[in-house]
Amino acid sequence: MNLLFDFTVDKDTATIHITREFAADLDLVWDAFTKSEILDQWMGPKPWRVQTKEMDFREGGRWLYTMVSPENVSSGRWSLAEFVEIQPKSSFTTKNSFSDENGNPLDSNFTFSMTTNAFEAEGEKTVVRIAKKMASLAEMEQFVAMGYKEGFAASMENLDEYIRTLATSK
């Protein structure tokens, strides 16, 4: 099945817009985005996987997770998604940042992004519209630089890939 995938970047507002169709009903897709036992199964960029430490899906609650290698070693990098607003079966907004393993922000002044996920049933499919507003392009630059130290998505392979891309784009 051909499922719509649209990815655009608005550099003026530092916002990434993603639209994606899924071949499942809204209830199931909603669960896949909001229940940690399902999130853990698809969020990790292979061969890494996401492991949830805490999930409290309610306004004011949070999701704390890390990336785990195929050898079951944590990347040591923890991500925090705080649920700012939830409209059941319709949309939810998270404030995304990085934290230590107990969910204490690494830098309380830095919010990496605010992400809104909106869900809409379309026949037998569900359309998810994601708007990810980055702190700013300047801070994104900082993140990018930081990302290479930590290894974006906690993977050295990404750096290899990155340099390879750089090499071929020359």
Binding site: L3, F5, F7, V9, I16, I18, R20, F22, A23, A24, L28, V29, A32, I38, Q41, W42, M43, P45, K46, L137, M140, E141, V144, A145, M146, G147, Y148, K149, G151, F152, A153, M156, N158, L159, D160, E161, Y162, I163, R164, T165, L166, A167, S169
Partner: protein, 106 residues
């Protein structure tokens, strides 16, 4: 001598050096402190990275600092492209998972 960039990343120590200096400019001594190898072997790696055109050198007083030579805006574009790829793969994993869950329910 101009080397192929793949040579730069073929070696794990050189990859680690790139990761280190991506964060901040560093002197050869500061870089060497992160590794078990001799100062000479780190110098050799730095020379190879320079020959691959991946390093910029800055003189500050008596010290030489190495930094990663990458255009900032290009970095963002590459990052976005990488992020797009990660999202694509993620959603394909979800497609498979949704398919599995739906079949189980039947």
């Amino acid at each position: 001598m101009r080397r192929d960039i793949f040579q730069a990343i073929a070696d794990p120590t050189r990859r680690a050096i790139l990761v280190l200096i991506a964060m901040q400019a560093m002197t050869p001594n500061a870089i060497a402190e992160h590794f078990d190898g001799t100062r000479q072997s780190i110098s050799k790696h730095l020379r190879i990275l320079s020959e691959c055109d991946l390093l910029d050198q800055k003189q500050e007083g008596r010290e030489i600092f190495y930094e990663l030579k990458i255009d900032k805006m290009k970095e963002i574009d590459i990052w976005l492209d990488q992020f797009r790829k990660i999202m694509e793969e993620r959603f394909q994993q979800l497609d498979q998972l949704l398919y599995t869950i739906k079949n189980k329910e039947k």
